[in-house]
Amino acid sequence: MELILFYLFAGVVVSSALLVVFFRNPLSSALALVAALFGVAALFVLLHAYFLAAIQVLVYAGAVMVLFIFIIMMMNLDLTTLRKIHYSFTGIVGALFGSYLAAILILRLGYFSEAARATPEDYGSIASIGKLLFTDYQVPFEMTSLLLLVAIIGAVMLAKKEAKHAARQAP
């Protein structure tokens, strides 16, 4: 059962990752990337890493992807120029490094053993991470909330409309 699910989700990841590259429309690519990230999250669940799975969905599939899509929409890309295939220098370098990475991954695949998975039962579980966050790492945790508060104030302060200020200053 687990094996079937693994192959199912691995298939989803690989096929949607390929679609990211082969789609011409950047928006479709981004949506395919969302699917790939969801597939990776499902793989994490199969490995009993529930916290990582949740974070994967929340941060990558949620926040980061929304940012991507926002930017793609704001840039308002011209699709006709994108349809042409360029053989640029960066493309060649990228292909070289990509195939290098693929070669390493394939050659190294046989070296992984079961021993590497010998971790305690509750390692990385939501409960143990939560406990750590609210005991040992409590001060940094609270500091992070202050950091986020500062970021929110800053976003509101810098993004406010100028006209409002002109109106307030006028009388």
Partner: protein, 494 residues
């Protein structure tokens, strides 16, 4: 149920009360402005000043009674409290300076005040951080607040440009810092300073020395950016020029003090490792920083850029002290005390000088070119005299706090045997006299340009006067403060 904490929360609250109070004050300010739509900068300022005076007093009492203690990733010793005092004084003066600016430029005063408060909380957390995570988060809180404050001058492109530049370069520096922390974690398996301090690489065969050297290099790059040491200083003049002047004063004094606190803690925690070439690296860094800072300052005609390069040079002098303090792996309290003293002196005179620049432009126009200072002695004698004192103090002329600070700093360096570096530092001070005198000559020996300056607002006057008084008083009687600085560094814990 098992016990989750071994923490004495009452004690922790007592020790960390200044930070908690400041954070609470900032949040209640924001709430106030949400419930009462009318902006009341004067009432806010009054309440804040009173509260900060109270916190200052409380911190001072804590400094007197504290027994060094490390708990919950925070540590409390005299060193951290004395740096807290410096940033609190900075906050007090900056709030006085920006009273005009918050009401004039269409920004809500509560937001600006709250960001200043949060930045100071971040700085205090850096001083009290017993763990690299806490120090990093403190630096981030401080930096994020200053990025936003830099861009808070509405409708002025230079301000936005400076904020963007500062943000991108600052984030990049933070990445370096984080990378360094990650590598240190890889070596020790812990991010606490105590574990770094007890680290020994005597018989290392597993390549940990290489990892740790890389980690230190990354940490130095990240922190070097925050203190604006050459060659990581290029952001400083542009950001100092574009930011609103009170914010510039805050960055030059407060942010630099806090970044030096982080640098000192990390350097002293790792200073005992003979594998890392601390002395040559810091020697070169300080020599470069003061020489290039001073030489480039010679050619500046914009007062804020001039002060920016001079603050780069001052970071170089401070690094001389850090280098000397590290010598022989022993903590010499006179040398390190000199660094703390100089941080205080530097903050005061920088705040004063920027305060005069704020006062010059307090009718809204940009009065920041050196030529705008022509004949200031006739247009506003008090401001001219004050700026003269601050500039003389920065140059290190006797009877000012700058002279006392340089004296203690260089005495420590001579004691540690750094004759070459000390000679270089003194030569640099001589060079700096040239550009510090340029505005003074303009103010006193050139005909006045423009109208007579109207009377200053009381908060501005109070801020400049406070700086002037302390610079002169502590310049003539520096020994008490130096004694305090020495006491501060006697019992450092990690």
């Amino acid at each position: 149920m098992e016990k989750l904490f071994n923490t004495d929360w009452n004690l922790l609250l007592q020790l960390a009360l200044p930070m908690v109070l400041l954070a609470g004050l900032g949040m209640s300010l924001l709430l106030c402005s949400a419930f009462f739509p009318r902006d009341r900068p004067k009432i806010f300022l009054g309440v804040l000043l009173l509260a900060i005076l109270g916190i200052l007093f409380y911190t001072w009492m804590q400094w007197r009674v504290v027994v060094p203690l490390s708990q919950e990733m925070l540590l409390f010793d005299r060193f951290s409290y004395s740096l807290d005092l410096i940033v609190l004084v900075t906050l007090l003066i900056v709030l006085l300076l920006c009273s005009k600016y918050v009401s004039a430029e269409g920004t809500r005063s509560s937001e600006v005040y709250a960001l200043f408060l949060f930045a100071v909380v971040g700085m205090m957390l850096i001083h009290h951080g017993a763990d690299l995570i806490v120090i990093f988060l403190g630096i981030e809180i401080m930096s994020l607040s200053s990025y936003i404050l830099t861009g808070s001058r509405r409708g002025i492109i230079r301000s936005y440009e400076a904020a963007m530049k500062y943000f991108i370069l600052g984030s990049f520096a933070s990445c370096f810092l984080l990378y360094g922390i990650a590598l240190a974690y890889g070596v020790t398996g812990s991010t606490s300073l105590a574990s770094l301090q007890s680290l020994s690489l005597a018989a290392d065969t597993s390549g940990n020395t290489v990892l740790l050297t890389m980690s230190v290099a990354f940490l130095l790059v990240g922190l070097g950016f925050k203190i604006a040491a050459v060659p990581f200083h290029l952001w400083a003049p542009d950001v100092y020029e574009g930011a609103p002047t009170p914010v510039t004063a805050f960055m030059a004094a407060g942010v630099k003090t806090a970044a030096f606190a982080a640098l000192l803690r990390i350097v002293l925690a790792l200073g005992h490792l003979p594998q890392i070439p601390w002395i040559p690296v810091l020697w070169i860094l300080s020599a470069l920083t003061m020489t290039i800072g001073n030489l480039v300052a010679l050619r500046q005609t914009h007062i804020k850029r001039l002060l920016a390069y001079s603050s780069v040079a001052h970071a170089g002098y401070l690094l001389v002290g850090v280098t000397a303090a590290l010598q022989n792996n022993t903590l010499s309290d006179a040398t390190l005390g000199g660094v703390v003293f100089y941080l205080f002196a530097y903050s005061l005179m920088t705040l004063g000088a920027f305060g005069v620049v704020v006062a010059m432009g307090h009718r809204g126009e940009q009065v920041e070119e050196l030529s705008d200072f022509s004949g200031l002695s006739q247009r506003h004698p008090f401001l001219a005299a004050a700026l003269t004192v601050f500039l003389l103090s920065m140059a290190g002329i006797p009877a000012t706090i700058g002279f006392a600070g340089k004296f203690y700093l260089f005495a420590g360096a001579v004691e540690a045997g750094f004759y070459g570096l000390t000679i270089l530092a003194v030569l640099n001070s001589v060079i700096s006299v040239y550009y510090y005198f340029a505005p003074i000559i303009k103010m006193y020996f050139q005909p006045p340009r423009g109208y007579e300056l109207p009377p200053l607002s009381y908060p501005l006057l109070a801020a400049v006067f406070l700086c002037l008084f302390t610079v002169l008083y502590l310049g003539i009687f520096p020994s008490d403060l130096f004694l305090m600085a020495r006491e501060s560094v006697k019992e450092l814990i990690f």
